[in-house]
């Protein structure tokens, strides 16, 4: 059963085997949850968005144009839910900072180095919060989820040139907001 392709699973679900849909949930839940959390949603909202995404995918499974690319179709559902849930996005950067500061004392290698890492993370999270959704999404998909420009174009139903533009603008915006990290790296 675990050797079934996504297309095989979709076919079985559409034939009435609802339990088979659980395979698709297992395959893609981590990836979808990671995307939603990287897009700035707190844990509880991310959980709800991903759960709703899978349920909607099940409801409309008959309209999945290419069942072998179920993940791409599911991604578009989840991404759309993120857009409509935008108002509920809150405090992820501050939550991350608070969570990690509470464990600061026990972290290696040294408290000072660890504090720098955590501060960098908090700064990057805050900078990402200020980006338009399409730029943030492009940066997340490329740098955190390992997709190529071509993959991102397919996932987001955009042209490759549009994706490249979003990446460029996103990088420029990060450089603008996190300028100190770039000047520190500049050789004297």
């Amino acid at each position: 059963m675990k050797d079934w392709s996504d297309g095989d699973v979709v076919e079985r679900v559409l034939s009435g085997n609802r339990d088979a849909f659980g395979l698709l949930v297992e395959r893609y839940q981590d990836q979808m949850l990671a995307y939603v959390k990287y897009m700035g949603f707190d844990d509880a909202t991310a959980y709800d968005v991903v759960q709703d995404g899978f349920v909607r995918a099940f409801r409309h499974l008959g309209r999945c144009g290419d069942p072998e690319r179920f993940d791409g179709w599911l991604f578009r559902i989840v991404a759309n839910l993120c857009r409509t849930a935008g108002k509920r996005r809150s405090k992820r950067a501050m939550e991350a900072l608070d969570d990690h500061r509470s464990t600061l004392v026990s972290q290696e290698p040294t408290p000072h180095e660890r504090a720098e890492e955590l501060d960098m993370r908090a700064h990057v999270e805050s900078a990402l919060e200020t980006l338009p959704d399409d730029q943030r999404e492009a940066l997340v998909l490329m740098y955190l989820q390992g997709y190529s420009v071509n993959d991102i174009a397919e996932l987001t139903d955009a042209s490759q040139s549009a994706v490249k533009m979003r990446l460029k603008r996103g990088r420029d915006a990060l450089k603008d907001r996190l300028g100190s990290y770039f000047t520190e790296a500049t050789p004297a």
């Binding site: 849909f21 297992e26 899978f54 349920v55 960098m120 990057v124 740098y143 990290y181």
Partner: protein
């Protein structure tokens, strides 16, 4: 790799987490999946519209073509005779008649719609612009009733239907359009 690109990668890497979905997520999804009752008309529509792969040997293909030719011959032959009174009574169609939605957006690359009848799923229904004139059309089977809906242009912009009978506030600062689907009347 340019130094700026290396720095960007390092900065993005700082927010990477090992994210694993909790066990409860799969269980919660499957609980909701098993609770869903799919309407007969939706199952029928999905069954009809779902693409299938048909495998046929050359001999099988010839046999199928021959059988189709016989059926057509007999069918066409029987149409020449008979009176309207002999015609079989049409079976009552359980599927609702489609309601046509039209949205004019020459600048759009994609137009979708959603509403009460699609659980407000943003990607539920894609309109088509077959002639490339910016006139987007979808035919949606709807039972008689009153429905709210909205169009989504290029996956981003939610727009009400300027041709709708009325608009209502959606409670989130936007407007939904209203369509009234009435019972079919026999004349």
């Amino acid at each position: 790799m340019k130094s700026d690109e290396r720095i960007i990668r390092a900065l993005m890497e700082s927010v990477r987490e090992d994210i694993r979905a909790p066990e409860s997520l799969r269980a919660d999804v499957m609980r909701r999946v098993h609770a869903i009752r799919v309407p007969v008309w939706r199952r029928a529509l999905d069954w009809v519209l779902r693409p299938r792969t048909l495998r046929l040997s050359p001999a099988g293909g010839l046999a199928a073509a021959g059988a189709l030719a016989v059926v057509l011959y007999l069918g066409i032959g029987s149409m020449g005779g008979g009176t309207p009174a002999d015609a079989p009574v049409a079976q009552e169609n359980d599927e609702p008649a489609p309601t046509r939605f039209v949205f004019i957006a020459p600048e759009a690359s994609t137009v979708e719609m959603t509403g009460d009848f699609a659980d407000w799923d943003p990607g539920a229904i894609r309109l088509r612009d077959e002639r490339g004139t910016g006139v987007w059309i979808a035919d949606v089977p709807l039972e008689p009733g009153v429905y709210q809906y909205v169009f989504i242009v290029d996956g981003q912009e939610w727009r009400p239907d300027p041709q709708a009978v009325s608009q209502v506030e959606d409670g989130f600062g936007r407007e939904n359009s209203v369509v009234i689907v009435s019972e079919a009347v026999e004349l």
